[in-house]
C-alpha cells in the first residue's frame, strides 16, 4: 500500500494516544515489554488503517472507530455462568484476572500481568505486520489476561472457559494458551458484557504434536460495544484444531483469525456463524498459512444479515511453495434478509505449490423460494417458515461439532438470539 500522509488525527486516534500517555505508568512490563508498547503506539500514531489498506478494505477502522471511551476504573463487570455446566472458568472482569485460578490437573494457569512484569511474554507481543492495528492496539495497552499451559498428554474432561467480561470503558487482554503433545481439550472463549466499551483481545494458541483442541469463540457484546479481537494459532505435527466462531453482537466487531500449520499432518477446521442485526458492522478476517506439506483445512462460514447490519468475511488461504499435497477448502454462504443490510466477501487463494487441491465457494442470496413454498404448502405460516429455514441454515454448522454438550449449549445461544432478533 502507498504510504499516504494522514491529513489529521481523528478524535479516536487522539484519544488512544492520550490514553496511552495517561496509562503508561500503570501498565505492567519490564524494559523489553515497554519497548514493544512504545513501538506499538508509534504504529497507531501513523494512523488507524483505512479502506486503502487492502486487509482493511471493507472495515475502514479510521472512519468507523468514531469514539473511544476513557478507561473506567469503577466499571464492575458481573460474572456469568459458563455455556457448558461444570466448565472450569477463568474470568477476566473488566480486563483484570481473578487472583486465584481454579485447580485442574494437567493445567497450569498464570496471570498475564505477572508474565508482562517479568518480561517472559515479550517475544509474543510483536504485531505481525504494518497493517496489524489490533495487534498494535493490544500490545500498547494489554494489562492482563491468562497464560494457560496444558501438559503433554493431558486429556481434559471438562471444557475450560475463558471469560472476558466488560462493563464499559476500555479493556485490553491477551490469552496465550499452550497445549502439549497429545493433549486434548475444549476451550471456550466468551466475549460479553454491557455498556459502550472498547475491547481488544488477542488469543494465541500453540498446539504440540498430536494435540487435539476444539476452541469456541462466543462473542455476544452489546450493540454499543467495539470489539477488536485476534485469534492466532500454530498447529503442530498431526495436531487438530477445530475453531468455532459465533458472532452475535457488538456495534463494531473485527475478529481476525491467523492460522499457521507448522507440522505435517496438521488439520484445521473453521466453522463460523455470524448473526448480524441492528446498525452494526461485523468483520471476520482469516489468514491461513499452509506452510508445510501434507496439511488439510476446511472452513465453513454462514452469515445471516438483518436490519441495517453490514457484514464482511475475508478469507485468505496461502499455500507456501513447499507445502505440497495441501488440501484446502473454504465456503462462505450468506443469507441477506433485509434490503438495508449488506455483506461483502473476499475469499482469496494464494498458491505457490503445484500439487495441491484448493477451492473456495461463496454465495449471497435470500431464502430459497422453493424451500419456503415447501413449508408453507404444509401449513406453516410464512414467518415461522422463514424462521425455521434461517435457523436450519446456521444450525447445520453447529451440528457438525460432534460434542453433544457443546452443540446443545451453542443451540441455546442461537435460540436466544432468535428470540431477541427473530
Amino acid at each position: 500500500m502507498n504510504m499516504h500522509t494522514q491529513p489529521q488525527r481523528t478524535p479516536a486516534e487522539t484519544a488512544l494516544i492520550d490514553a496511552f500517555g495517561d496509562r503508561l505508568s500503570l501498565l505492567p512490563g519490564d524494559g523489553a515489554v515497554m519497548l514493544k508498547r512504545d513501538d506499538a503506539i508509534e504504529a497507531i500514531k501513523h494512523g488507524l488503517p483505512t479502506r486503502r489498506i487492502e486487509s482493511w478494505h471493507y472495515t475502514d477502522l479510521r472512519r468507523l472507530l468514531n469514539a473511544v471511551p476513557d478507561f473506567d476504573p469503577a466499571a464492575a463487570a458481573k460474572a456469568i455462568a459458563p455455556i457448558v455446566d461444570g466448565s472450569t472458568v477463568l474470568a477476566l472482569l473488566n480486563g483484570v484476572s481473578s487472583a486465584k485460578a481454579p485447580d485442574v490437573e494437567g493445567v497450569s494457569v498464570q496471570r498475564l500481568s505477572e508474565k508482562l512484569t517479568d518480561g517472559s511474554i515479550a517475544p509474543g507481543l510483536d504485531p505481525y505486520g504494518s497493517d496489524d492495528a489490533i495487534g498494535a492496539l493490544n500490545t500498547a495497552f494489554v494489562a492482563d489476561g491468562f497464560f494457560v499451559d496444558i501438559a503433554d498428554g493431558a486429556e481434559l474432561e471438562r471444557p475450560v472457559e475463558l471469560q472476558n467480561l466488560q462493563a464499559g470503558g476500555q479493556t485490553h487482554v491477551r490469552l496465550p494458551v499452550r497445549v502439549g503433545a497429545g493433549a486434548k481439550a475444549v476451550i471456550v472463549e466468551r466475549q460479553a458484557g454491557e455498556g459502550a466499551a472498547l475491547t481488544s483481545s488477542v488469543s494465541q494458541l500453540v498446539l504440540g504434536e498430536g494435540a487435539e483442541v476444539t476452541w469456541l469463540i462466543v462473542q455476544e457484546q452489546p450493540e454499543t460495544a467495539t470489539h477488536l479481537a485476534q485469534f492466532k494459532a500454530h498447529i503442530g505435527k498431526n495436531a487438530k484444531l477445530t475453531l468455532f466462531v459465533m458472532n452475535a453482537g457488538g456495534r463494531l466487531v473485527r475478529q481476525e483469525i491467523m492460522i499457521k500449520t507448522t507440522g505435517e499432518g496438521a488439520d484445521f477446521k473453521l466453522r463460523g456463524i455470524n448473526l448480524l442485526a441492528g446498525d452494526t458492522h461485523t468483520d471476520v478476517t482469516m489468514v491461513l498459512d499452509h506452510a508445510v506439506p501434507h496439511t488439510t483445512s476446511t472452513e465453513v462460514i454462514r452469515n445471516v444479515v438483518t436490519g441495517k447490519a453490514r457484514g464482511v468475511f475475508q478469507g485468505r488461504i496461502n499455500v507456501h511453495q513447499y507445502a505440497q499435497k495441501t488440501n484446502a477448502k473454504m465456503a462462505c454462504n450468506t443469507l441477506l434478509l433485509s434490503d438495508d443490510g449488506e455483506f461483502s466477501t473476499k475469499p482469496e487463494l494464494e498458491i505457490f505449490a503445484d500439487d495441491v487441491i484448493c477451492g473456495h465457494g461463496a454465495t449471497v442470496t435470500e431464502i430459497d423460494h422453493d424451500h419456503l413454498f415447501y413449508l408453507m404448502a404444509r401449513g406453516v405460516d410464512e414467518k415461522s417458515a422463514r424462521g425455521l429455514l434461517v435457523k436450519a441454515f446456521v444450525a447445520e454448522v453447529i451440528e457438525e461439532l460432534d460434542d453433544e454438550a457443546i452443540v446443545e449449549a451453542l443451540e441455546a445461544r442461537l435460540d436466544e438470539w432468535f428470540v431477541t432478533h427473530g
Binding site: 466477501t345 475469499p347 473456495h360 465457494g361 461463496a362
Partner: protein, 505 residues
C-alpha cells in the same frame, strides 16, 4: 491434437525464446522528443490536427495525472517506470492519412503479412470500390461465408490502414481510427469519449487520456447488425516508445457488433509500456462482443524485457436489455494489469467475462473483471481460467457488486487455476459485495495441477507427454475458447500451446 503439434513444431523452428512475432521492422519514423510535458501533449494534438476541445481535454487529464500516484495494490512487481524516458509519439513516415493500401509503406504491409493478418484482401477490396448496390448486396451475402474481417491496423502510435471502410459505411457503420473520428465525427466522440472511463479514473487511464495517439472508433447505428467482424491489430515497433491507444465502441439501440483486437511487439531487452483505454457503450437492446488475443512480447527466458500491459477496459450497458461480452486470451506481456468490466446500468442488461490467462517464464498476470450491478434484473457471468507455468505469477482479481436498487441481480463466477511446476503461483482474489437482499451471487474457485490420472489416461493411448498436457489444457479452457469468433479460436488454441512450450519436465 494436430493443431497443437503443428504449432509446437513451427515454434521449435523459430527461436529459443519461442516468440514468433519478435522481429523488428526498419521503417522511417516521425517521433516526438522523449518525455512528457504539456508541450508534448500540444505537439501530439497538433500532429493529429485535433480541435481545441480535444486538446483541452487532454491537458486537463494531464494536470490530473500529475496529482495521481501509481497504483500498487496489484500482485505485480516491477522497477519504477520513468515516465520521462518514453517517447509518447512515434508514427511511421508515410503519406499523411493513407486512404488505401497502395498509400501504405510496403514495409508495414510486410509486417502485417508476417503476422498473418488478412489486410491485403485486395480482390475483395476492389469489389467494394464498385459502388453498385447489387454488387454490395452480393458482398454482404458472402461476408460470413468468406470469413472476412474488417481490420484497423495500429502501428506504434498511429493507425495506418482500415479496410472495408466503404462497405461498412454502406451499412451505416463507422469504423475508423479515433484520430479520424475526432476530425470527422466530433459530435459522437465528444458525446461518448470519457463517458465510461472518465479522465480521472485511474493512474494509467488518466495518462492515456492525456497522451493517447490512436486507436479505433466504431459506431453502429440504431438497429444495424454490423455485417462483419471488426478487428484491430496493434503493433509496437519503435524502441523506447509507449503505446497508448484509445478505443471507443458505440452500439445504438438494437445494434450488434463483434470486435477483436490482437497485439504483438518486437523482442527487446528493455521493457515497454502499453497503457490503453477501451470504452464500450451499449444502448437499449444493443450487444457488443469484444474479444482480445493479447500476445505482446512476454520477455525472454530470464524475464528480461517484455511489455508492461496496463490497460483499462470498461463497458457500459447503458440501455435496457443491453449486453456486453468480454472474451480475452492473455498469453503475452511481461506484466498484465487488466480488468475488463461491465457497468450494468440498464434494466435487464447482462455482462459476460470469459478469460484465459496463460503465464510462463517470469510473466506476471493480474487480471480479472468488475461487474457492477446497478439496474434491475441484471445478470453477469464470469468464467476465468488461469494457467501458470515456469516462474510466473497468475492472479485473478474480480469484483461483483449489487447496489441497493439492483433488485434480482444475478451473478455466477467460476475461476479455476491450473499450476504446472512448483515455482509458479496462482492466486484468486474475488470481491463480492451485496447490498440488495434479492441479489443472488455464486462464486467458486479451484486450484489444482493436471492430475496424474488424466495424463496417464491420455498418454497410454500413445500420445506423448507434452501433447497430452496441451490436450488437457485445451480441455480446461474450452469454455472460454468457445466464446471466440471461430478464426481466432484456432489461433488462441495455438497460442496457448506455444506459451506452455517447455513447461513440462
Amino acid at each position: 491434437m494436430p493443431a497443437v503439434q503443428d504449432t509446437i513444431d513451427r515454434v521449435r523452428k523459430i527461436d529459443v525464446d519461442q516468440y514468433k512475432y519478435g522481429f523488428q521492422t526498419e521503417i522511417a519514423v516521425d517521433k516526438a522528443p522523449k518525455g512528457l510535458s504539456e508541450d508534448i501533449i500540444r505537439f501530439i494534438s497538433a500532429k493529429k490536427d485535433e480541435p481545441s476541445w480535444m486538446l483541452e481535454w487532454r491537458l486537463e487529464a494531464y494536470r490530473r495525472w500529475l496529482t495521481l500516484e501509481e497504483p500498487t495494490w496489484a500482485r505485480v512487481d516491477y522497477p519504477k517506470i520513468d515516465f520521462q524516458d518514453i517517447y509518447y509519439y512515434a508514427a511511421p513516415k508515410s503519406t499523411p492519412g493513407p486512404t488505401s493500401l497502395s498509400d501504405v509503406d510496403p514495409e508495414i504491409l510486410k509486417v502485417y503479412e508476417k503476422l498473418g493478418i488478412p489486410l491485403k484482401e485486395q480482390e475483395i477490396l476492389a469489389g467494394v470500390q464498385k459502388t453498385d448496390a447489387s454488387d454490395l448486396e452480393e458482398v454482404s451475402d458472402n461476408v460470413y461465408k468468406s470469413g472476412r474481417v474488417a481490420v484497423d491496423a495500429v502501428f506504434d502510435s498511429v493507425s495506418v490502414v482500415t479496410t472495408f471502410k466503404k462497405e461498412l459505411a454502406q451499412a451505416g457503420v463507422i469504423f475508423c481510427s479515433i484520430s479520424e473520428a475526432i476530425r470527422e465525427h466530433p459530435e459522437l466522440v465528444q458525446k461518448y469519449l470519457g463517458s465510461v472511463v472518465p479522465t480521472s479514473d485511474n493512474f494509467y487511464a488518466t495518462l492515456n487520456s492525456a497522451v493517447f495517439t490512436d486507436g479505433s472508433f466504431v459506431f453502429v447505428p440504431k438497429g444495424v447488425r454490423c455485417p462483419m467482424e471488426l478487428s484491430t491489430y496493434f503493433r509496437m515497433n519503435e524502441k523506447n516508445t509507449g503505446q497508448f491507444e484509445r478505443t471507443l465502441i458505440i452500439a445504438e439501440e438494437g445494434a450488434y457488433v463483434s470486435y477483436l483486437e490482437g497485439c504483438t511487439a518486437p523482442q527487446r531487452d528493455e521493457n515497454q509500456l502499453h497503457a490503453a483505454v477501451v470504452e464500450l457503450v451499449a444502448l437499449d437492446d444493443a450487444e457488443i462482443k469484444y474479444s482480445t488475443v493479447q500476445n505482446w512480447y512476454p520477455g525472454d527466458a530470464e524475464g528480461k524485457g517484455g511489455i508492461y500491459n496496463f490497460v483499462t477496459k470498461r463497458g457500459d450497458c447503458r440501455g435496457d436489455r443491453s449486453k456486453i461480452s468480454w472474451t480475452q486470451v492473455e498469453t503475452g506481456s511481461a506484466i498484465t494489469w487488466k480488468y475488463p468490466s461491465c457497468i450494468l446500468r440498464g434494466d435487464d442488461s447482462s455482462g459476460e467475462f470469459y478469460s484465459i490467462a496463460v503465464s510462463n517464464g517470469y510473466q506476471q498476470v493480474d487480471s480479472g473483471t468488475k461487474m457492477i450491478h446497478l439496474g434491475k434484473n441484471t445478470s453477469s457471468r464470469i468464467i476465468s481460467k488461469g494457467i501458470a507455468a515456469g516462474f510466473s505469477q497468475n492472479t485473478y482479481r474480480g469484483q461483483v457488486s449489487a447496489h441497493r436498487k439492483a433488485t434480482n441481480a444475478r451473478n455466477f463466477t467460476n475461476c479455476d487455476s491450473l499450476l504446472i511446476g512448483d515455482q509458479c503461483g496462482a492466486h484468486t482474489v474475488p470481491y463480492m459485495e451485496a447490498k440488495n437482499s434479492t441479489a443472488q451471487f455464486e462464486h467458486e474457485a479451484t486450484t489444482s495441477k493436471i492430475s496424474e490420472d488424466q495424463k496417464f489416461y491420455v498418454m497410454q493411448r500413445g500420445i506423448p507427454e507434452e501433447e497430452a498436457i496441451a490436450l488437457i489444457v485445451n480441455g480446461f479452457v474450452k469454455d472460454v475458447i468457445q466464446q471466440l469468433p471461430m478464426e481466432f479460436a484456432v489461433e488462441a488454441q495455438k497460442l496457448i500451446g506455444i506459451s506452455l512450450e517447455g513447461s513440462v519436465g
